[in-house]
């Protein structure tokens, strides 16, 4: 951008003074007609001044990019498993704001630890050789889990030779952990500490575990008399301010931001049974027991068709909705993120809970002879790409072991 002439600088200074703001770009915060009135410039001069303001605020020539030139911006942090990556469109994209949401113990933190290790891997192994920032707001950072995941995960992704050559401590050095126990300290860190860390240029991933912890309820003592409305309004404003900052940093520093979010109960007037008492009944909590149709024709394949991973869970989105749960922090937050990853699990049932609906009376005799299908006994987990601007929604059944999450191919189940 060419330097401004003295004349131009003087004109800008005059505009700023007349309009009564502090920075030239703030002159663009008022309508053009108001700008003319405040500055007292003629139509001609006003247009010149306005054009100068636009040129200095946003020199469009420097910002115009052809879609084809943006191909190099598609850089992904792998999850360490190719099928999960495919489900997410490639993994976690640099420059994106990603939310990982699920009920408690659905594996959100585990997934983020897996990403934190994977991001550090060398490029030859599909990593980005990057540093990681981990903001922890829900209790102490799970350092033991991190340490125990390094070798198995690196072994799975890179092979025996590389895995034995690396020291888990190296992976732990490159993760900067900050723990916060309140909203104020967290936002303070977002304003000062985080940009300082990002400016090194080496950070490729920042994880906030979780964004909801201090924002869901009004826990600060000094606002004892604050009305709920004021609390939500203040929260929305904080989220928006934070979101705006992160979006810019994500692009500027080529970094991905992952936010773990909790789920909240949705209360509706009618809980689906026409009862209308407005509270979530036991109906809507995770229930391990399941009924199968009459056993006359049911073979293993029939029952698996009935209860296959895709049909009975539906999409995570729909499954959560039928269970009257939604991501916390509301619509304001949902509009700040660009990608939502949902994690859900269905706990295994004990054999004693397995019933055949039609034979409920004779269950004593039948239990001895019918073996519940294996896919009902174990805990099953799914990772779903609920929405994303760069990939269609998709889900993947996964298993969690010491190396983190891996996909399950359905031929095996």
């Amino acid at each position: 951008m060419s330097a401004l002439t003295e004349e131009e600088q003087a004109l800008l200074a005059k505009c700023v003074a007349k309009v009564g703001c502090e920075e030239p770009h703030q002159c663009l915060h008022i309508p053009y007609s108001e700008f003319l009135r405040s500055t007292g410039l003629t139509e001609e001069q006003g247009q010149l001044a306005w054009a100068l303001l636009c040129r200095t605020t946003y020199p469009w020539q420097q910002h115009c990019r052809l879609a084809t030139e943006l191909k190099d911006d598609d850089v992904w942090i792998s999850t360490g498993d190719l099928e999960i990556d495919k489900c997410l469109g490639g993994g976690i994209r640099l420059g994106s704001m990603v939310e990982v949401v699920g009920e408690s113990a659905s594996g959100k933190t585990q997934l983020c630890i897996q990403l934190a290790i994977s991001a550090q891997l060398p490029e030859t192994y599909g990593g980005l050789d990057g540093d990681v920032i981990y903001i922890s707001t829900e209790g102490p950072f799970p350092v033991n889990r991190l340490e125990s995941m390094v070798y198995p995960l690196v072994h799975r992704v890179c092979g025996e030779d590389y895995a034995t050559s690396v020291d888990p401590a190296d992976f732990m050095h490159r993760i900067q952990v900050a723990e916060f126990d309140s909203m104020e300290t967290m936002f303070h860190a977002f304003d000062y500490k985080v940009p300082a860390l990002l400016s090194t240029g080496n950070v490729r991933l920042m994880i906030v575990d979780s964004i909801a912890a201090h924002l869901r309820f009004n826990t600060s003592d000094d606002d004892a008399g604050q009305s709920p409305f004021a609390f939500y309004k203040e929260r929305s404003e904080s989220l928006v301010a934070m979101g705006a900052k992160f979006k810019r940093w994500a692009n500027e520093y080529s970094c991905a931001f992952v936010f773990i979010n909790q789920v909240t109960d949705m209360f509706t007037g009618d809980n689906g049974n026409g009862n209308g008492n407005g509270t979530p009944s036991a109906e809507f909590r995770s229930r391990p027991g399941l009924s199968l149709p009459s056993q006359g024709n049911s073979t293993e394949s029939d029952s698996s068709a009935e209860l296959s991973s895709s049909t009975d869970m539906g999409t995570g989105f729909a499954a959560m909705a039928t269970r009257k749960k939604a991501p916390a922090l509301g619509a304001v937050w949902s509009n700040i993120i660009d990608t939502r990853i949902m994690m859900y699990q269905r706990r295994g049932i004990a054999p004693s809970e397995f019933r055949l609906a039609s034979d409920a009376q004779d269950d004593a005799t039948n239990q001895a002879t019918i073996e519940p299908p294996s896919h009902l006994l174990r805990t099953r987990r799914w990772i779903e790409n609920a929405f994303s601007p760069w990939a269609p929604s998709a889900q993947c059944e996964v298993v969690l072991d010491e190396s983190g999450f891996q996909h399950i191919s359905h031929a095996n189940s």
């Binding site: 309508p31 139509e43 040129r55 990019r65 052809l66 084809t68 705006a244 994500a250 692009n251």
Partner: protein, 305 residues
Amino acid sequence: MSRSVLSLRLPAYLQTKLIQNGYHTVADFDEAPLAEDLAQFLTQSEVRSLASAAQAQPSAHSAWSIQQQALTRSYFSTQLSQLDTLLGGRGIPLGCITEVIGEAGSGQTELCLRLCLAARLPAAQGGLGVNSVYIDTVGSFSYCGAARAAHRLSALSSPLATSLLDGIHVFRVYVAHELMALLSSFDQIISHIAGVGLVVVNTVSWPFLASFASNIARRQVLHTELSHVLSQMAAKYKVAIVLVSQAKSPFGRSNLLSSSSSMDGDVWARVAANRISLQRRSDGFSIALSASTMHPTGETLVNDI
């Protein structure tokens, strides 16, 4: 009866000067001998601007000429037959504003990408062969997303699909003043890029929220200003302008049509010819034409946007 000085398009200080010196209507200074008198308290350029303001008459057109203009309007197909049907069988109109409302994840970005590509298709396939300007205020644009959108357009071979991408010009803005600056420079951009037929702003709500999170009054003032700027821009350059705005609150399970409202209120709806609402369903997407100056409202279901 002569026009009052106050009704002329002049800066306020100039109007004040004229009135203070006894000139209240156009008739007072129209006569030639008074030119020297004017020169006593006005500069030459001010006298000139006075003359041009006095001569400018508010214009009026007949309803007939407006209809003729409407008949010659160009459209491009969205390449989604159900959506084209909702839009009267013709698609997105040039010279008009189309508002798209949806919650997070309802397919707004997919629709924007689809429209950019659809506009670029040749006329034989329902497009107009025009370039697009994609103003990205939230970081939604990606090459891979655009390439996927290109493959979703019906019956296109792979090399042809990706060649459509070179018609999309992307601008990333973060805050309100950047968006205002960009749009004020639009005449330069139009002449630089040439052949632009579509401008997409995804989303138009966010930059104002980001700049004025707590000041709803300021947001509304700027929204109104921008809506006028965009309205004039669409008409002047004969481009289609698609504005994505954030939906107000979760839609009910049923009626997309009746529950559709934008977080910005109806500021965009007031200048939009068409208003499209989007909602993600478990089996696809619900698209509704929730308001239009040209077509009846309607709703449809598609598998993929």
